[in-house]
Amino acid sequence: MIYKVVPGDLKVKAVTTIDFPLFYKKLKLWLQDEGYAKEKTLEQKYIERIKPNGKQLEIQWVTKKSKSDFFDYHIKLTFLILGMKDVEIQQGSITRKMNKGDFELRIEAYIETTKNLEKLGTLKRIYTNILIKKRIEEYKIELYDKVYKFHAYVKELLNLRNY
């Protein structure tokens, strides 16, 4: 069973110039530091296409953090990048290689019940709807806060405004 934490997904889009490899690495580190990402299972999809107007990338990360025997937190991140080109930018006396393009990120967050909970059979409904109903709400709030911290971090890296 899945409990959605944000309705649909959160979309962040910027047509800008960034250091994409650094951006990619920083997001991965953030998720690893928070205990969500594991190197082997993180990247579910990485598609790169060379187009006349630049590179087109489609990357999907699915992260998991075990909260208890019965619940896992998930943050799913999809990168859609269009027309990415290498550019050189002069910063003082240094010339930096950057990437210009249309960067779109979609963030989803949800809580998933584990197989251990399914084993409870008919007791599952009593357990989730009565006994730990309040705790599930607390879990939702916790993941909601976490996903908004991640959302704010993504915006910060893309030089977008934050609250």
Binding site: P7, K13, L160, R161
Partner: protein
């Protein structure tokens, strides 16, 4: 007849247009604070900024939801679209269009999903007055407060 999604605003939503100078940072932060202070669950569904030669293009879509009780949920959706944004000192110039929609989600927990007829009776006879006099009035007053806040920031007439 009161439907399950009881819209308070006309179907295209309320519109606020402003062309000229405004403080986008204040508008952004104060609008978010408005929803936080009224205990809405806030979601930034979309945040897009595009750099263009004649000025940036910015778009935000916000959805704020508040579960009033086990039966009624308030939802306010605001879309901000700004074209030709140019920053000058702390102010911005541009063409701003804000679209706001508000509605009540009745039976948002879907307790009546197997009994649509009962839902109809309940909404249109049993709690009709409460919906119209309490819930709709409350949401409408909050919607007005929000539009007034935006108009204040944009220095528009109220």
């Amino acid at each position: 007849m009161i439907p399950k999604k009881d819209e308070l605003t006309p179907s295209p939503g309320l519109r606020i247009n402003h062309k000229g100078t405004f403080n986008l940072d204040v508008l952004y932060k104060k609008s978010k604070t408005f929803f936080d202070s009224r205990k809405y669950d806030f979601t930034e569904k979309e945040h897009a900024e595009k750099s263009k030669s004649h000025g940036n293009e910015i778009k935000f879509i916000w959805v704020a939801e508040r579960e009033v009780d086990d039966y009624v949920k308030f939802t306010i959706e605001a879309t901000f679209e700004i074209w030709d944004v140019i920053k000058k000192n702390n102010n911005y110039t541009g063409d701003l269009k804000i679209n706001i929609k508000a509605w009540l989600d009745l039976d948002y927990k879907n307790n009546f999903y197997k009994f649509p007829f009962l839902l109809f009776i309940y909404n249109n006879f049993i709690i009709k007055k409460k919906i119209q006099k309490v819930y709709e009035d409350k949401l409408y007053s909050e919607l007005l407060e929000f539009t007034n806040l935006i108009k204040d920031i944009l220095k528009m007439l109220k």
